[in-house]
């Protein structure tokens, strides 16, 4: 813009200067010509006076390069010419200026002379004796005069041009400066040309619009990243070529990567054949799922294609941690299998005995023994079903009515009912401790103590000892069951609380249990927000410590 303004100013200056000079030159030329003519007239007057006085001798003495003086008779013959001399001159009677001089006394003319090829100004005067004296000068001399003027004029022209150039530069800069210094952030604060204000107004409205949009965009972005970073599920956004656009922190943890994976091909982040098959499948059908374990945890991958107006924009990969679900499912499957197995075993015994009796294969005196067997198996079934019902009640997490119960009282109660069993196994049983009153469900706590003591008696040696100690302080009530029994092998300790888990894999009927006892204990203790700790040494015995918050 500066350049354009500068150029315009310069062109205007140059044109006006040039035209001024041309006009001045024109005037000067005609002015000089007039001056020259007047001079010529005066000089002719002087010359005529001299010739009248001195005759031809004066003319012969005249030495001039510029002037040409011709003396002509009234009939036109040349008496003398300062350039050509007397001879070789044509008759000059027809010449315009001579004619005019003869008639009016003086005359003048301008023409291209025949003899000298240049424009010449003539001036003629009739003298008193009737002859005519003529003076002439080449107009080139006027041109020369003007030409002589040209140089200083040109110098003036150049100087003026340079000056106007400097001025034009300054001016154009001054005009443009406020435009350059426009504060576009606050367009309305500018005090500038009236003509620019519509533009500034427009910029102002657009500025505020852009600001608002940017703010909205940033807010959404922050919202998005906040939401995704708080998600437990992994989330990966990819474009249609599989380049990662965004990855939340959960996904980063799963794939053991960082934000550096954004912008890279997803395959370079997690390379897996099944995964790429899953992606391909999603690209074809729009949706695909798969399950895979990574570093010991089960994940479910869901790939969904993002489409807009029939065009594929990219895809979303959602990763769910389904380890717990898978484990729970496996547990449930195992539990169902175990339950059916455990239920079936006594039934088989009952059916077997019943068939034998029915077929008359049993002697009369043996019938009571078989019936006893059937009763035993049936009662075992009842115990088992009761245990399962209890467990499922605990699983339901139903709110049971809590009351204030004394652990010592329950322990004594349990010991009483276990007395026969202890005697059968010849195990000595001791209960000691203080009264420990906690808020709990009586039947559950009874189960806890009963099951623990029953195990301590059952898995004991002949003449062994079982000790139940209850202590209580401000914060917790501690139940300590120790025995001198066979102990639990180290690798099994973690699993004894699982349903139907038996250290002795033969599920021996000898000890009778259902395999659910400790599982019920665990659930009941957890129900009362207590903790269980097991310490055991093979051959020496087991100590189970349970703490209940008071």
């Amino acid at each position: 813009m500066t350049r354009k303004i500068f150029n315009s100013i310069m062109i205007v200056a140059a044109v006006s200067l040039l035209s001024g000079i041309v006009i001045i030159m024109g005037f000067l030329y005609s002015y000089f010509e007039r001056v020259r003519e007047n001079e010529l007239k005066d000089e002719l007057g002087l010359c005529a006076a001299a010739v009248e006085d001195g005759g031809i001798r004066y003319l012969e003495k005249v030495q001039s390069d510029r002037y040409r003086i011709t003396w002509i008779e009234a009939d036109g013959t040349v008496l003398y010419d300062t350039v050509t001399g007397k001879e070789n001159s044509k008759n000059h009677l027809e010449r315009e200026e001579v004619q005019s001089a003869l008639e009016k006394g003086e005359g003048r003319s301008k023409r291209y002379s025949d003899t000298l090829l240049e424009k010449t100004i003539y001036y003629a005067k009739r003298m008193e004796d009737g002859t005519v004296l003529r003076i002439s000068i080449g107009s080139a001399t006027v041109g020369l005069l003007v030409f002589g003027m040209l140089q200083p004029i040109l110098i003036v022209f150049v100087i003026a041009l340079i000056m106007s150039g400097i001025l034009a530069g300054r001016l154009s800069r001054r005009i443009v400066k406020p435009l350059n210094n426009l504060d576009l952030e606050n367009p309305l604060n500018n005090d500038i040309y009236e003509e620019v204000s519509p533009l500034l107004n427009r910029i102002n409205t657009q500025n505020s619009k852009i600001k608002a949009q940017l703010k909205e965009l940033q807010r959404r972005e922050a919202e998005f990243s906040k939401i995704t970073s708080c998600m437990n599920e992994g989330l990966v956004l990819m474009d249609k070529n599989g380049i990662v656009l965004s990855m939340n922190s959960a996904a980063e943890k799963i794939f053991l990567t960082d934000q550096g994976s954004v912008g890279r091909d997803f395959l370079t982040v997690y390379r897996d054949h099944e995964m790429s098959l899953c992606m391909k499948h999603a690209a074809e059908s729009g949706h695909s799922e798969m399950q895979k374990s990574i570093f010991g945890r089960e994940y479910e991958f869901v790939v969904t294609l993002i489409k807009s107006a029939g065009e594929v924009l990219g895809s979303v990969l959602l990763i769910f941690d389904v380890t717990e679900k898978v484990l729970a499912e496996r547990n449930r499957r195992e539990f169902t299998a175990n339950v059916s197995h455990e239920l079936k075993t006594p039934l088989q015994g009952i059916i077997g005995s019943a068939e034998l009796i029915e077929g008359g294969m049993v002697k009369q005196e043996d019938i009571p023994r078989f019936l006893g067997h059937i009763r035993k198996e049936a009662s075992r079934l009842v115990v088992l079903v009761n245990d399962i019902i209890r467990l499922s009640q605990l699983d339901e997490k139903k709110e049971l009515t809590k009351e204030r119960v004394d652990l010592l009282e329950i322990a004594e109660e349990a010991a009483e009912s276990l007395g026969v069993l202890a005697e059968e196994n010849s195990v000595e049983m001791q209960i000691s401790g203080d009264t420990a009153v906690i808020s709990g469900v009586r039947s559950l706590l009874y189960d806890v103590i009963y099951n623990l003591c029953e195990n301590a008696i059952k898995y004991n040696i002949d003449g062994g000892k079982t000790e139940l100690k209850i202590t209580c302080d401000q914060e917790k009530a501690v139940l300590l069951v120790s025995d001198t029994g066979i102990g639990i092998p180290h690798e099994h300790i973690g699993r004894v609380f699982e349903r139907f888990y038996r250290v002795d894999k033969s599920h021996s009927k000898e000890t009778g249990g259902t395999g659910l006892g400790l599982s019920i204990v665990k659930h009941a203790v957890l129900y009362h927000h207590g903790t269980i700790d097991v310490q055991s040494e093979i051959g020496k015995g087991t100590i189970i410590r349970i703490e209940f918050p008071v």
């Binding site: 070529n241 599989g242 091909d265 395959l267 370079t268 390379r271 897996d272 054949h273 099944e274 995964m275 790429s276």
Partner: protein, 214 residues
């Protein structure tokens, strides 16, 4: 023109990674078959083999197309030529895995010592393959050089297994056939390790332009 070329190079890279993933998949399945003796797994392996071969064809075609149509120079040329060499090694890894899978059903009662060694060897060679593909993905020369070094570990396992088998045959000549099968498996794993080394060497070449020092 260049953007098209870049696009094709990216595609080549992607296909290479997929082929690497296929190789990892097939040998991890072989290892599983070796430990779990699951008939279904063996079936899966035989379907992966042709897939690897198909991938090799695809990459080969892509490489030749790139070479002919784009006439690459310098780094691009190195990358494409290295890819051409690498897919041969990857394809061999797939073949060797298939070969192992064929033998696995015949080596049911293996001696415990050999079994442990074989397991460790298999894991070492799988690690080599994984790391060589990782090195390719990340253009990681350090990792590639580690893979080249790790080949000694796998070679060492082969020697150990060989010795264990020899002493096994001396003690119990009846198990000779099984021992030879086990030796074959060990040899295949050793070859897989070698191929992984080759891949790592080509990774180094494609980055630095130097193939095998000395």
């Amino acid at each position: 023109m260049r953007s098209k070329f870049d696009e094709q190079l990216a595609l080549l890279n992607k296909e290479m990674i997929e082929m690497g993933a296929l190789c990892e998949e097939i040998i991890s399945r072989v290892l599983k078959a070796l430990t779990e003796e699951d008939g279904q797994l063996l079936h899966g392996i035989s379907s992966l083999g042709p897939e690897i071969d198909q991938k090799e064809r695809t990459i080969e075609t892509l490489c030749l197309k790139l070479l002919l149509q784009q006439q690459p120079v310098a780094k691009d040329l190195r990358q494409i030529s290295a890819a051409l060499k690498m897919i041969t090694d990857m394809e061999r890894i797939g073949d060797q895995a298939e070969d192992i899978a064929e033998i696995v059903p015949f080596v049911k009662n293996r001696p415990q010592t050999v079994d442990t060694l074989l397991h460790e060897m298999a894991e070492a060679s799988i690690k080599m393959v994984t790391e060589s593909v990782d090195a390719f993905v990340g253009r990681d020369i350090g990792l590639a050089k580690k893979v080249i070094k790790d080949d000694d570990i796998v070679d060492n396992y082969f020697t150990l297994i060989k010795q264990a088998l020899i002493s096994g045959i001396v003690d119990n000549p009846k198990d000779g056939e099984c021992s030879i099968d086990l030796l074959m498996i060990a040899k295949y794993f050793e070859r897989i390790g070698d191929h992984a080394t080759n891949i790592a060497e080509w990774v180094v070449f494609s980055v630095t332009g130097i193939h095998k020092e000395g």
